[in-house]
Symmetry: C2
Subunit: 335 residues, 2 copies
């Protein structure tokens, strides 16, 4: 058995409560007593029992992180969110309970109703996410990464996909392009309700229309060799287009190889712009002009807001919907 606070108290010749107060600093303790206690603690190798503390304080100092691996999903981007949420949590003193249940809503219920966590972060939120209702019923606050159809009562953090699209269209328009191609996420993402697909597409089309540009929009694919087939078919069908906007992780990741095979040089023969994070670009060796998807910022903001609500229930104001503004990183792939 491990040393308990009782053991420390005995070794230091004081009561349990005195040890507790010495630990928390919530009441004044004389210097000598505190030193005796500290000595006993290091002597015995005492550590507070997390379960007991959680029971007494109703605070677990743990956040739930709910990821979700959709079938056919292009997963690598997920890791960046897991990292950023985990890092931000740790900095604020929280641990992370990672949940990836097949039944995601049940996972939310399990960790919230049993009081295993003080708050929940949902990754990869879809338009009609089945986890949302369950999360709303929970006592603990929740923060979403990704905008659902109805976010009532929950804090939302997402990229401003509309603005992202406009920045890219503006960039291409400014460079003189007049006919564009947009490759969106795969169709099944739209069907599942990943709203970022149409938020980006609609804004791009609207903006292009305002400028009088022609823009052709297509669904992308999520796996080879379908990706290559699709891209080639699109390029064959639109020989007049001078620029490609790729809003599709799997497609942008293999694009260098596809274009290379076709003998297309970027930006000489075709301009390419996209949307991905620097880490993502490094992993796939991409050097396209892109708006940064900053998973780090997103995860960090979500955790910060969550912790604010935990410490300040009801006080932290009405639910927040925060969109990250685009930051264009010009890598010269559009001319």
């Amino acid at each position: 058995g491990m040393a308990t606070i009782e053991d420390v108290a005995r070794a230091a010749g004081v009561s349990r409560s005195t040890v507790s107060y010495a630990l928390s600093g919530k009441r004044t303790i004389s210097r000598e007593t505190r030193e005796r206690i500290e000595h006993a603690i290091s002597e015995l190798g005492f550590t507070v029992n997390a379960g007991a503390r959680a029971l007494a304080t109703s605070q677990t100092m743990t956040l739930g992180l709910l990821s979700q691996f959709h079938q056919d999903e292009f997963a690598p981007a997920m890791l960046q969110y897991i990292r950023s949420v985990s890092d931000a949590s740790r900095e604020l003193g929280y641990d992370v309970l990672f949940v990836n249940d097949a039944n995601a809503a049940a996972g939310v219920r399990r960790i919230t109703s049993s009081n295993q966590v003080d708050g929940v972060v949902l990754l990869d939120v879809t338009h009609a996410d089945p986890r949302l209702d369950t999360l709303r019923e929970a006592r603990q606050p929740g923060a979403l990464i990704g905008l659902p159809g109805h976010s009532d009562g929950l804090d939302v953090f997402d990229l401003d996909f509309g603005e992202f699209a406009r920045v890219l269209v503006d960039h291409l328009y400014g460079l003189g392009h007049r006919e564009l191609i947009l490759i969106s996420p795969p169709e099944h993402v739209f069907e599942r309700g990943g709203s970022y697909g149409w938020r980006f597409r609609d804004a791009a089309v609207e903006r292009a229309g305002r400028y009088g540009l022609r823009i052709h929009t297509y669904y992308g694919e999520s796996q080879q060799p379908a990706i290559g087939v699709r891209v080639n078919a699109i390029l064959d069908a639109r020989p007049g287009a001078t620029a490609l906007i790729v809003h599709n992780d799997a497609t942008i990741a293999t694009l260098p190889l596809i274009l290379q095979t076709r003998g297309i040089r970027v930006p000489d023969d075709l301009s390419v712009v996209s949307l991905y994070s620097q880490d993502f670009g490094r992993i796939f060796s991409l050097a396209y002009t892109a708006v940064e998807s900053s998973p780090d910022t997103l995860g960090r903001l979500a955790v910060q807001q969550l912790v604010r609500r935990i410490n300040d229930p009801g006080q932290a104001g009405p639910p927040v919907v925060k969109f990250i503004a685009p930051e264009l990183i010009d890598r010269g792939s559009a001319a």
Copy 2:
């Protein structure tokens, strides 16, 4: 406040202990009483408080998962381990506490000494992993994914890299190749003590020597454009080599583009074999003959063994060192 077992007891007109026994089934309860209790439970929406249960039973039903993102590491493979450990844990009734502290050893100490977990899985274990000593001091059992220099007291699961190398060399030898190139992980992986680097290389060299093959070994790089520069330099330096063995995630991921750029066809001009998982191959659209790195099996075995030790302390036998045998998946990239 949530409903407690006391509320359930009151609603069902029984004592707390009776409710507890009805829940656990550790003592016989009459049918009518059990039904009254179950009714009360669903009526009140009662769920056992995890902290209280952990305190009473000294079991948290949570496993610690310690990942570690080394600087310059090629991370995508990590996600597969996280998934498999998490899935396997859930199937056995455990939750996963995900820890990614900058100071990894401190992370181990934190979650073990505070009794937040019943066991610990270490990912990406290096030769002289600083987490090991801390883990050995813990009350909880630990399972490693990756072979360290000294694994005393801990269960180890890893690929049989030596055998993996031999299978690939055998494959190439059988196809008539007489001069091979091996691209290993980056040098800093060897320095850090990732033993898989030399375990694979030494076995490949030994096997090639036995067959009288020439084999040239090189460190790979972990990032573009260094990867391309390195690969091109190697190919320039060894024009006589007919086959390439790539034991390096980052390199194999960009190899298609590099070879395409050089105008090298696989397997017509050069045979290529490697070591990666099917998922990894799908993400990077790779179609090389490779030995499967089965992160899924590895994660699952580690968790199973860990749970065995948790339920059966001291009884589960001496520490295990289990190596996964290679499975060659012939995708025709060697001729």
